[in-house]
């Protein structure tokens, strides 16, 4: 065994093995990288990209201003200013809605927390900007992102009063605290 190792050392066996590995990659050249701006990777369907506010098919906003997304957000990205719909005291909506995307970690908890499916995660990821302030998005911008990414909108049902918090989030999906 000792002799074998000596022979291996003298013949540069390990180095030759490594050189063979690199040469085989060189001869069977098959790049695994993409020329990024020219070719883009196929994203998985559950990719969590840029956040967006959604609308119903009649163009009304889904958001009811309940602040649950703000409560769910771990990095305090979202700020909602809720208000009554003018002339309809029982209905509420988000008068202002801000997202500070510099802090967002794209965990998707706000989307899960939303009782009316008003938030969605798009496949957009090219959000590098020169000015950090451009990442402080307001409601109009978020709605625009939703409009361009989700052209097929959810139908607004007649019995679904916007102010009735229709909890479509199953509680089983929320991790329960183990006692």
């Amino acid at each position: 065994m000792k002799l074998k190792e000596w022979v291996k050392t003298l013949l540069f066996y390990e180095i030759a093995l490594g050189m063979k590995a690199t040469l085989s990659h060189f001869l069977h050249y098959k790049p695994i990288t993409l020329q990024y701006p020219h070719e883009k990777k196929q994203l998985p369907s559950n990719y969590r990209g840029m956040l967006a506010l959604l609308r119903y098919d009649d163009g009304t906003e889904k958001c009811v201003g309940c602040d649950l997304c703000e409560a769910a957000c771990p990095s305090r990205v979202i700020r909602v200013v809720s208000a009554e719909v003018p002339g309809e005291p029982t209905k509420r909506y988000s008068k202002e809605y801000y997202m500070d995307m510099t802090r967002c970690l794209f965990c998707g908890l706000c989307v899960k927390a939303c009782p009316v499916d008003a938030l969605g995660m798009t496949q957009e990821y090219e959000w590098a900007v020169y000015d950090k302030r451009q990442l402080q998005l307001n409601k109009e911008q978020l709605l625009a992102i939703g409009d361009r990414n989700f052209p097929v909108r959810e139908k607004r049902l007649e019995f679904q009063h916007p102010n009735v918090a229709y909890f479509n989030v199953g509680f089983k999906e929320i991790p329960q605290k183990e006692l």
Partner: protein, 358 residues
């Protein structure tokens, strides 16, 4: 007077041709190295500038040319400016004695002119070794004069490394010199004519110099500061080593020097161990088909092919091997390579003494 002018013109044109060829090769090498490394690592390498990135050297050159030239505060300005030149000139000047093609002598206007070697001086090997040592000064001074910790560390490392490995380069060549009994690279090349079995690597002249070649090529990699012996410019430890503080054209000079040294070392290895421009078969194909006056094309082609293989080898080991630790480097140089080189000299001289002229 006229002969002097003719000689001057011929030599100058030769120098221009060789320099242009070397610098173009360096430009191509900068791209090829990145490409080959990329291919070996399942990447594509540069792809943006021109089709498949072939204009990348132009873009790199333009960038370096227009970059701001910064001299760090507290640097020794004279030495800082001198170091890149001191590093580049020896790398390029060594090509003066490399025979690129057949050892012909042409009579031009009463001047004996060798078209395929700039000067055939009878101490060509010594000349190359001497200038390689001067190149080390460029690196050491560049590291010292930058007034930077990283540069100084890189310079110190290169000082120790170059001294240790220069010795091995010198000793590994001695076997070839014994067998050819000449220091002129032209004579050494001519002694290896007539098939690959006459090359010194495979045992031309009596004793195969394969061990000497292995010692030579390892030491040559160390001399040119390439991976796995790139301690003077270890990116992961010393930012960029001795040229950390350099920018613009001064940096480009160091870069050119590194690649120039690579080509020079490949040329020397080709000439000393692999028969220079001689094809691996006896005679030349051009002579067989009755175009003996064109055999220089074949010779230069074989020379370029051999040098290209060594350059590829440089890239290849760069893609394969990790960097040695400093103590490993020293131990390997002094305790492994040096005894092998010395033993090779002893055995070769005994064989050369017992079987002279075999």
């Amino acid at each position: 007077m006229e002969t002097v002018l003719i000689r001057l013109g011929l030599t100058l044109s030769q120098i221009v041709v060789v320099m242009v060829a070397v610098l173009l090769t360096v430009a191509a090498l900068t791209l090829l190295e990145r490409k080959v490394l990329g291919w070996m690592q399942d990447r594509m390498g540069p792809m943006e500038v021109g089709p498949y990135g072939i204009l990348q050297p132009v873009a790199d050159g333009l960038k370096l040319f227009f970059k701001e030239d910064i001299i760090p505060a507290g640097a020794n300005k004279f030495m800082f400016s001198m170091a890149p030149v001191l590093s580049l000139v020896p790398a390029l000047i060594g090509f003066a004695v490399i025979p690129f093609g057949p050892d012909w002598t042409v009579d031009v206007g009463g001047v004996n002119f060798k078209p395929f070697v700039i000067t055939d001086i009878n101490i060509g090997v010594l000349y190359i070794l001497a200038f390689a040592s001067i190149g080390a000064y460029g690196i050491i001074l560049g590291g010292w004069s930058s007034n930077s910790k990283y540069s100084l560390l890189g310079g110190l490392r290169s000082a120790a490394q170059l001294i240790s490995y220069e010795l091995n380069v010198g000793l590994s060549i001695v076997g070839v010199l014994l067998l050819s009994s000449s220091l002129s690279l032209v004579t050494i090349t001519n002694a290896q004519a007539g098939g690959f079995w006459n090359w010194y690597f495979f045992g031309g002249g009596g004793f195969p110099q394969a061990l000497a070649f292995i010692v030579f090529i390892i030491s040559a990699v160390a001399e040119t500061n390439r991976t796995p012996f790139d301690l003077p410019e270890a990116e992961s430890e010393l930012v960029a080593g001795f040229f950390t503080e350099y920018s613009g054209m001064r940096f480009a000079f160091f870069f050119l020097a590194e690649y120039g040294n690579m080509i020079l070392v490949s040329c020397v290895a080709t000439v000393l161990f692999f028969g220079g421009w001689h094809p691996p078969y006896p005679g030349t194909l051009m002579e067989y088909i009755g175009m003996g006056h064109l055999l220089w094309i074949e010779g230069i082609m074989w020379f370029v092919l051999k040098v290209a293989f060594f350059l590829f080898f440089f890239f290849w080991i760069r893609a394969t091997l990790p960097r040695l630790r400093y103590d490993q480097l020293m131990r390997f140089g002094w305790k492994v390579l040096l005894p092998i080189a010395l033993a090779n000299i002893v055995v070769t001289s005994i064989v050369a003494f017992l079987f002279p002229g075999s």
